[in-house]
Every structure is written in structure tokens, then in C-alpha cells.
């Protein structure tokens, strides 16, 4: 048996032993697909952290929302296009306030060129007001 044939047989053997469904679900949750363009360089986690940092830097509290005392949490989904910018940006869970939803989506777009990561990404965005002194 050639090395390639041995590898194929081992693959078939191991792939044929399915884990229980519950395990598989837990596995997927614990290990969400980490898809990567670059075979080397920073890890996915560090690039996700950088994406988060850039979105945070681009996030602004809409002045009108502050005036109207609006708070809320939105969830924005997007992907990173081939040019490194966010594409398909949409609010998948509304804060309940159009003003905040728009600001959350705008922050993702305004984050600029982002480290590349395959697949859909989500960012939970909170808008919180502190007491005025």
C-alpha cells in the first residue's frame, strides 16, 4: 500500500466513526469554524480581536440618540470581502431604535480595511448612556 493509499484508508476509517450528534453540536459550538485566508501570520483570534478593535474605534454614539436618551443592543452580521472591507453588512438583531441600528452598521463599514477572515462574522454592539453630572 502506498503512502497515499494508507492515508486515504486511515481517513475513511476515522471519518466513518461518527461522534454522537450531541457531541458534534458541542464540538461545533466549542470550535466554531475558523476560516483563514493566510496560512501563516497572526492567528484567527488575534485577527478577530483586531477587527473588534477597529470597529470599536469607528463606533460613535449618535448625538441625536444621546439627546433622545436612547440605549440598546444590536447585532450586526457581515463578511470580509476580497479587498478587506466589510460587505453584506446587516443588522440581524435590532436594538429597537433605527438610529442605533444605523450607527452600529455604520461603524462596521467605517472600520476600514480589516484583517481577512473567511465566513460570516457577527459583532454585538451596545449603546449605553452614563449619568450626566
Amino acid at each position: 500500500m502506498t503512502a497515499r493509499a494508507r492515508a486515504a484508508a486511515l481517513f475513511i476509517l476515522l471519518a466513518a466513526g461518527p461522534a454522537p450528534a450531541q457531541e458534534a453540536g458541542a464540538l461545533a459550538e466549542a470550535h466554531a469554524p475558523a476560516v483563514d485566508f493566510a496560512p501563516s501570520g497572526p492567528s484567527v483570534e488575534s485577527r478577530l480581536a483586531e477587527i473588534r478593535r477597529r470597529i470599536q474605534a469607528a463606533l460613535e454614539y449618535p448625538p441625536l440618540a444621546r439627546w433622545q436618551d436612547l440605549e440598546g443592543d444590536a447585532l450586526v452580521r457581515f463578511e470580509i470581502g476580497s479587498e478587506g472591507r466589510a460587505r453584506g453588512v446587516r443588522v440581524v438583531r435590532s436594538s429597537g431604535e433605527p438610529l442605533l441600528d444605523a450607527a452600529a452598521a455604520r461603524a462596521v463599514v467605517a472600520a476600514g480595511v480589516l484583517p481577512r477572515v473567511y465566513g460570516p462574522l457577527e459583532v454585538p454592539v451596545s449603546f449605553e448612556l452614563a449619568t450626566r453630572r
Binding site: 492515508a7 481517513f11 476515522l14 471519518a15 466513526g17 461522534a19 454522537p20 457531541e23 464540538l27 461545533a28 470550535h31 466554531a32 469554524p33 475558523a34 476560516v35 483563514d36 485566508f37 496560512p39 484567527v44 478577530l48 480581536a49 477587527i51 473588534r52 470597529i55 470599536q56 463606533l59 454614539y61 448625538p63 441625536l64 440618540a65 444621546r66 439627546w67 433622545q68 436618551d69 452580521r77 435590532s94 429597537g96 431604535e97 433605527p98 438610529l99 444605523a102 450607527a103 461603524a107 477572515v117 473567511y118 465566513g119 460570516p120 462574522l121 457577527e122 459583532v123 454585538p124 454592539v125 451596545s126 449603546f127 449605553e128 448612556l129 452614563a130 449619568t131 450626566r132 453630572r133
Partner: protein, 716 residues
């Protein structure tokens, strides 16, 4: 990333290895990614779940100041507190607040009267409490009272109560205080609330609120209906109303809102009963031979524009229009021919106006600083026709009143932090009014007014200092001036030409202490208010035409209002909440050369009144609570000389049992059962001496023990 996974299952170790196609591809050098997932670009691969990049948060400082930094006795009742209370209407909630005194002479939503700081003193004079709904004045042009039947609690999001003069910012009527009612907003995912209540006296009410957002638009719709036979005979009340609100937010620097509504109701009024009549006919009887009723229709439209002009510079525009028609009658078929009359009337009132306000937040020396400036315009028109049939009017008397007024105002406020914990607030407002129009009357007791040409004005300064000496505690001291212009009923008056009636003005001095923490909040205020020319419907005025006392509106030269207000809320345990309030209002005439009643107390307003209550949050989503209200002795209305016996102290005890639980992910349900006046107390909130001449007291008996049940279903 390629991964080998070893997992244990039971006692046997089992090897499970997952190799993703990407990894295989990498092993064979066929792909550029080193993923342990299928190729996400492959159409055959399942869509991978989104991966979170982690939470991001935007924080900012609220535009509104913390209540601890506001110089004044201010409380806020939010939606959670409203629902917890089980209250049916806004005045029922306001009864629990210190500084406010609430009465209801009919028992229907129309019969409420709410005043602050000693101005609920009867006799038919106007209101010294300004009530705003989403910024629009609810005080009526002709009487300056608020028709509380138009304020449905089911559409209220929040109530803000400011005790003491607010004329420096709000102008007319804001002498005793300001109540701001903010209605629900429709923004968010589609949501709706359906509510219904049933109770004693054939009471039934239902309401629907629905709202939602779509893109830059959000809107809401509200409708309700109410019917009740009332506790007393001939006190039926039926109403229905619709309102809607639409907001457009085209960008994050501008939003525009328009709201509109219509309401209609029919009310019957049972009149007062003498003690002899109560003994003979019972407490729930109507005044014999009397038929008083009114039908009211009201429409309104208002707008709201909010624009960010520059960083920390905001512009707020608030135009509004309101139209109301009242038509009704006061009829008496008394066997005594001198007491027989039929007075029919129809009143059309319209108000329109608006305000423009600029706010600038500009730190000075590193400390927060806010300046507010603006102007306001208001135009009121009243057309009233009446026909009277009585022994004094043969065959009939007619009246035709057409008057209008405009008020033009400008104001400026400044809030500046002198130190980090010391805030100075100062402001001034100038109001210029002009009254015009007149009346023609054939009533022998009335005088035709050829031209009500009057132009009163008022300057209302205010200064206050707040010291936040602990993180959760502050103290304040303030001086403010308040005023109230005569309303049309007072300026024209059914008793004739009252050209000399002056605006009512006050100087208010106040100190207070406030505490707010997670589990305990309290407000304590001491105030001293000297009122000049307090407008009062005075039965002791000697009419120059007739030469004997004949009630009419007049100015009392000087009246002193002094008081203490204490309100607190304590949440010592997660399942227990306690609250209470106490108010002392000592309101006395200091000097009045006309009536010479110096030192006498003003009627109706008790020296002491208070509230105590609790909520218990029980297992299985049950809640229960009780609210006790006690009101001390007070003089009856029109009892200026204080010579008539007082109304005795009364107390009421209301209990509530509620069950609030989720029904699935998107539906909540609340069931409510209440017993009001649990101990079946017999009392009258209001009573009065006859307005014209001697006679027995007239009482307005309040409801005995009564029940109420309801259900509310919310979709979100």
C-alpha cells in the same frame, strides 16, 4: 486549522478525529487556506455559523442631568412603576406623590383635580399646575384646568413631576408645579399591548397600543374606550379616543415627529347632596331635580423636530394645534321657582402655537455648562354661546362670548458647574400677553364686555444652587418667581366685567435634600411661597350693583403657602418594596383688605396628608400590594371665614393582587385584581358652602368599597 480531537465517552476511550476538507486540501497542496472547515466558497458546503468578533460598546453621557443635580423636588414615575401600581389613571398615581393634592368630586375621570403646593383650594378658580403631554399644554384655555379623562394611563411611558414654580422655563400656570407626561414610543420590533378592565359600577375599559419601526420610520397607534355608570346616579361617563404617532429619522442629526389624536366623551354630573339628602336618598344619589351633562370632542395635532446643528448644539421645534367643543347644560327642576333654571351652553376652544429652543453644551474651564434659550407663541380662541331660562330670565337670557389671547414669550437658562459637585442654575423668562374680544349678555347678573383689552406681562427669574456633597446625596437651595394669567372664565366671568383682575404672582424660596441609591431614594423639601393677587372665586365680594355679597373672581392681596414635602421609596429586600409620602401645606391669607380675613386658612387644602404602601413580589410571578391614603381635616369650599365645620379626616386602603408571567418567548400576560376602599369608608373628598347666599353644605360623596379586574397581553 487542522485539528485532531480526542474525546472520552463513558469508560471507553474513543478516538474521534475530524479532518476538514480544507485540511485535506492543504495536505495535498490543493488549497490556499489552512482551514479545518469545508471550503466556504463551495456551493455544496453548508453555510457556516457566524463567528463573533466580540462585544463593542458605545458610551456617552446622558443629555439630561441626574435627578440629584436638579435643583428642585423632582420625581419620575416610569412605566415599570406604573404597571406595578395597578393604577387605572394618572391622578390615582399622583395621589401617592408628596406635594400634590388630588381630589375627585364626581368619581369619574373627568372629576379629578390635581394641584401642587396648596392651590387645590376650590371655589372654581383656575389651575396653578401646568400639565404637558409630550411638551404640549393640556391646561384648557377657558378654565386652565386639565381634563384628566384625556390622559389615558395605558399610553403613558413616563411621568415627571416638578414641584414649585416652573414659570422661568414654562411660563403661565406653572406656579405650583409642572407635570410632564411622556407617551409611549413605537420604535423597535413590532409590538402591541391589549388591555381590558372590568369593575364595579358597570365599568369597562379596553385599550390597544401597537408600534414598530421600519427603516428610518417608527410609528405607533393607540385606541381606547371607557364606559361606566359611576358610583352615583347620573354620573355615567363614556369615552373613546384614537391617537397615532409617526417619527422619521432621516439621519443621526435630525428627526421629525408628528402625532395626532381625537377623543370624544359624554359625561353626566350628579351635583352635590346636602346631609339631609344623603340621609334620605343615600350617598350614591344624584342631586334631586338636577340634570347636568356635557359632551366634549377634542382633536389635536403636534409636531416635534429635533436637529443637531453642530457639536453639542441642538434645536428643538414644537408646533401644536388643539380644538375642543363642549356642549352641555345645567338644569334644575326644583319646586322652588327661584331655584328653577335651565342653562345651555356650547363652547368652542382652539389653541395653536409652538416653541423653538436651542441648547448648547459647552464646557467652561473644564466644567460642564449648558445654555438654553428659546421663544414660545400661544394663541387661544374661545367662542361660547349660552341660553338661560329661569325666573330671572323671561323669556330667556342669552350670552355670546368671543375672546382670544396671545402670549409671546422668550426665555434663557444657564446651568454651570462652579465646582465638580456644585451646580449653579439661573434663568429668566418674559411673557407678554394680550387679551381681546368681548361678550354680550342679556343676563341681569352679567355685564356685557365691550372689549377685553388687557395686556398683562410677567418676568419670571430663577436661581438655584445644588451641592452634591455625597455620591448619592445632594442638597439644594432655590429662589423662583411664578405667575398665572387669568384664564378666560376668570377674565370674562359669568358674573360680569372683571377688568381689574390681575395676574397671580409668587415668590418661592425652597431648600431640599435628596438621596438616590439602588435600594433607597428620598426627597425632602421645605418651601415658602408668598403669593400676590391670588385669583379666587370669592363668595364674600360685595357686588357694587346689587349691594350684597355676590360671588365673583377676585385677587386676594397676599396669601402665604408654606410646606414640607417628604417622599421615599425603600427596596430593602428583593421581594419587598416600601414607599410613603407626607405633605404639610399651610395656606393662609396674609392680607386682604376686601374680605378682611387675614390669618384664615384657605379652603379644601388639608394641613396634612400622606400615603404609605408596599409591594410584595411572591413566587410563581405573583405580586401583591397595598396603598393607604390619609387626608387630614380641611375647610369646605367657599368657607372663607372658616366659620363652617370642617370636613373630617378620611383614609382609604386599596389592595392589589397581580400575576405577571411570560407566555412563550414573545408574549407576556398580566392579570390584575384590585379592591379599592377596602374598609368601605364613607367620606367626601370635596364639599362646599353655597356660592350665593346662605344654605346647607353640599357634599360630593366618594365611592365605597369597589372592585376591579383586568388582563393585559403584550406581544413583543
Amino acid at each position: 486549522m487542522c485539528a485532531l480531537r480526542f474525546r472520552r465517552e463513558g469508560s471507553a476511550e474513543r478516538l474521534s478525529i475530524s479532518l476538514f476538507l480544507g485540511c485535506v486540501g492543504l495536505a495535498f497542496g490543493a488549497g490556499m487556506a489552512r482551514a479545518d472547515d469545508p471550503d466556504p466558497t463551495s456551493p455544496a458546503a453548508p453555510a457556516p455559523p457566524a463567528r463573533s468578533v466580540g462585544q463593542v460598546t458605545a458610551t456617552a453621557t446622558r443629555a439630561e442631568r441626574d435627578l440629584l443635580d436638579v435643583a428642585g423636588n423632582v420625581t419620575v414615575i416610569d412605566r415599570e412603576a406604573i404597571e406595578k401600581s395597578g393604577a387605572r389613571d394618572v391622578p390615582e398615581l399622583l395621589r401617592r406623590e408628596s406635594g400634590l393634592f388630588v381630589t375627585n368630586d364626581i368619581g369619574s375621570p373627568e372629576g379629578y383635580r390635581v394641584e401642587a403646593r396648596g392651590f387645590n383650594n376650590g371655589g372654581g378658580n383656575g389651575s396653578a399646575l401646568l400639565v404637558l403631554m409630550d411638551g404640549r399644554r393640556l391646561n384648557e384655555a377657558d378654565s386652565s384646568f386639565v381634563d384628566w379623562s384625556l390622559v389615558q394611563l395605558d399610553r403613558v411611558e413616563r411621568i415627571e413631576i416638578v414641584r414649585g414654580p416652573g414659570s422661568a422655563l414654562y411660563g403661565d400656570n406653572a406656579m405650583g408645579g409642572v407635570v410632564q407626561i411622556i407617551t409611549k414610543d413605537g420604535a423597535g420590533q413590532p409590538h402591541a399591548t391589549l388591555s381590558g378592565r372590568f369593575g364595579s359600577y358597570q365599568e369597562a375599559t379596553g385599550s390597544l397600543f401597537a408600534g414598530g419601526s421600519q427603516g428610518p420610520f417608527s410609528g405607533s397607534f393607540y385606541a381606547d374606550g371607557y364606559t361606566s355608570d359611576g358610583y352615583r346616579e347620573h354620573s355615567d361617563f363614556d369615552s373613546h379616543m384614537f391617537s397615532g404617532k409617526l417619527r422619521w429619522t432621516p439621519s443621526d442629526i435630525a428627526s421629525f415627529e408628528v402625532s395626532s389624536g381625537y377623543s370624544a366623551d359624554d359625561r353626566k354630573r350628579p351635583g352635590t347632596l346636602t346631609q339631609a339628602q344623603i340621609d334620605e336618598f343615600g350617598r350614591d344619589a344624584a342631586q334631586p331635580f338636577t340634570n347636568n351633562f356635557d359632551a366634549a370632542h377634542e382633536r389635536w395635532v403636534q409636531g416635534l423636530g429635533q436637529l443637531i446643528l453642530a457639536k453639542d448644539v441642538k434645536l428643538k421645534l414644537l408646533p401644536y394645534w388643539r380644538s375642543r367643543r363642549d356642549s352641555g347644560a345645567f338644569e334644575s327642576s326644583d319646586p322652588d321657582p327661584f331655584r328653577q333654571f335651565d342653562f345651555d351652553f356650547g363652547t368652542d376652544t382652539s389653541s395653536w402655537g409652538g416653541s423653538a429652543q436651542i441648547e448648547v453644551d459647552l464646557p467652561i474651564g473644564g466644567f460642564p455648562n449648558r445654555a438654553i434659550a428659546g421663544f414660545e407663541f400661544l394663541r387661544d380662541d374661545v367662542d361660547r354661546t349660552s341660553a338661560a331660562f329661569s325666573s330671572f330670565c323671561t323669556p330667556s337670557c342669552t350670552g355670546d362670548t368671543r375672546v382670544h389671547r396671545r402670549i409671546l414669550s422668550g426665555f434663557a437658562q444657564e446651568e454651570f458647574s462652579i465646582l465638580e459637585n456644585l451646580l449653579l442654575a439661573a434663568g429668566v423668562r418674559y411673557d407678554d400677553a394680550h387679551y381681546a374680544g368681548g361678550s354680550v349678555s342679556t343676563d341681569p347678573f352679567s355685564t356685557s364686555v365691550q372689549d377685553l383689552a388687557r395686556s398683562p406681562s410677567a418676568l419670571s427669574p430663577r436661581a438655584a444652587l445644588t451641592w452634591r456633597f455625597l455620591p448619592a446625596t445632594s442638597a439644594y437651595v432655590s429662589y423662583s418667581r411664578g405667575f398665572r394669567f387669568p384664564n378666560f372664565d376668570e377674565a370674562i366671568g359669568f358674573a360680569g366685567d372683571l377688568f381689574d383682575l390681575q395676574p397671580q404672582r409668587s415668590n418661592d424660596y425652597e431648600v431640599g435634600l435628596k438621596q438616590r441609591s439602588e435600594t433607597f431614594s428620598a426627597n425632602l423639601a421645605f418651601y415658602w411661597m408668598d403669593v400676590k393677587d391670588e385669583i379666587f372665586f370669592n363668595p364674600l365680594i360685595v357686588d357694587p350693583t346689587f349691594g350684597f355679597p355676590f360671588a365673583q373672581n377676585s385677587n386676594l392681596e397676599r396669601v402665604r403657602h408654606r410646606g414640607i414635602e417628604l417622599g421615599s421609596n425603600w427596596h430593602p429586600l428583593s421581594w419587598l418594596e416600601l414607599y410613603g409620602s407626607y405633605t404639610l401645606n399651610d395656606v393662609r391669607i396674609q392680607k386682604d383688605p376686601v374680605t378682611q380675613l387675614d390669618g384664615e386658612r384657605m379652603p379644601l387644602e388639608p394641613l396634612n396628608h400622606g400615603t404609605a404602601g408596599f409591594y410584595l413580589f411572591l413566587p410563581w410571578h405573583f405580586e401583591t400590594g397595598a396603598n393607604a391614603n390619609i387626608v387630614g381635616p380641611r375647610h369646605v369650599a367657599n368657607n372663607f371665614g372658616n366659620g363652617v365645620s370642617s370636613l373630617p379626616t378620611y383614609y382609604t386602603l386599596d389592595t392589589t393582587l397581580a400575576w405577571r408571567a411570560p407566555l412563550g418567548e414573545h408574549v407576556d400576560i398580566a392579570l390584575l385584581f384590585r379592591i379599592k376602599n377596602l374598609t368601605d369608608q364613607e367620606y367626601s373628598e370635596v364639599a362646599g358652602a353655597p356660592t350665593f347666599g346662605p344654605g346647607p353644605l353640599g357634599f360630593n360623596p366618594a365611592p365605597g368599597r369597589n372592585y376591579e379586574g383586568g388582563v393585559t397581553v403584550s406581544w413583543k
